[in-house]
Symmetry: C2
């Protein structure tokens, strides 16, 4: 209610769709719903030019993003820049992948450890921190949300199978025993949309599953409560033997 | 858009406000906005009686909650029960405290470790796990979202000062060095509402600050990036000396 009312009271609405992607709707659908035109900005417009703050000096301006507007550091920077000019700012939250993904899979959001991002592989750029961070969470029994790299300007979106293969490759490189053939992974596509797709299975399966168009993410569950395991079986087709694993000690080998 | 459209297409809408609290609006405001009546349920109605699933056998039924509908295990259980009867279910996400709190304070959501809940103190019930979990997150440089106990049927909502004192007491009991007089804590009230209030400061201050009516929560930040520290100063009145702390090594003593 609050988002819609606020947008209808603004003089100008800027939007970005490069940190995430709209599902189920095109910008024109949003314009029809709000009853106002959107000015869509590219990353350089937001980060390097001063379009939004300049407009806000004299008008009521909104800046909208797909998902949670404050998840991008540059959006926070925008807000702080406006405040430095004594421009009043407000944040109205959107639905975020952090909780939408947990909800879709039936995993308890409080049991997630630190979130991890997997970057597109580049020559000489194979960081160990994603693998190490997942391992730290897992060793504490916590779930890990694994976000996948986006290069919207090049129309490149990492898929769940690509990310799974990246992690399997990291296991070979780093060899700390995080991933074996019975490690459970969840892959999710277009979370929160009507065409959402979920899959839970073993690495070889996740490395090949076709979940359709972006955006994809992965979750590596930690220690599963019985209801979470039931949820993964019911909602994401997880193999039924995860219901037998009890404390998950086998999965930790 | 999707939530509103879906609700308008339902035959019956059930609601609960015991896992969280509506800000800024009363149920009748929601009814006016949606254009349909709400049937408000108590906890026992949802968890013990079969009202919702029974209705869903023959009608399109919605079940709404303040915040994120899947954060409560019993809501997930409701969903799984419906699915066992071959009733089609869908989840439409709400804005969750997990990300709204991070956004309000300017803290990066990916840097939060496991979430912690502080229970109302009871005789012989002073668990060490909240303190230990915060300590684990903090030792990894991660932020901790600290949720506070609610007993809605008794109209009891833990406040930020109560929770701060609980933690200070836990430091005395457990003595592992998590909290000293220069530890930074953030208190947030009515996050995401128009009457949101934020405060960041030292334990003695947080133990006394009056942030008004519920719901309250705390965050103990881990290692702050410079922009996060700037955000806390600008948004939550954090003391300006947190900008000098660099890697935060002093705060870790």
């Amino acid at each position: 209610m609050r988002a819609l009312t606020t947008l209808r009271n603004c003089d100008e609405i800027f939007a970005e769709f490069y940190t995430s992607k709209l599902n189920d709707a095109q910008p024109k659908d949003l314009e029809a719903f709000i009853g106002k035109k959107l000015t869509i900005l590219k990353r350089a417009d937001v980060e390097e030019k001063n379009i939004i703050v300049s407009a806000a000096r004299t008008k009521k301006v909104a800046f909208i993003a797909a998902g949670d507007p404050m998840s991008a550091t540059t959006h926070l920077d925008l807000r702080l820049r406006a405040m430095k000019e004594n421009i009043h700012t407000d944040v109205i939250n959107g639905v975020s992948i952090f909780t939408a993904c947990a909800a879709a899979l039936g995993l308890q959001p409080y049991k997630f450890g630190r979130t991890v991002t997997i970057p597109f592989p580049e020559p000489n750029f194979l960081p160990s921190s994603p693998y190490d961070n997942i391992l730290e969470n897992y060793s504490r029994g916590l779930h890990t949300l694994i976000l996948l790299d986006i290069k919207q300007e090049e129309d490149r979106y990492m898929t769940a199978p690509m990310a799974m293969r990246w992690l399997m490759d990291a296991e070979e490189r780093l060899g700390k025993g995080l991933i074996n053939e019975h490690s459970l992974f969840c892959a999710a596509a277009r979370v929160g949309s009507e065409r959402q797709a979920l899959f839970a299975g073993y690495p070889d399966e996740v490395a090949q599953v076709d979940l359709g168009p972006p955006l994809h993410c992965l979750v590596m569950p930690g220690r599963l409560h019985f209801m979470e395991a039931q949820a993964l079986v019911a909602l994401a087709n997880a193999p039924a033997d995860i219901l037998d694993e009890g404390s998950g000690s086998e999965a930790k080998k």
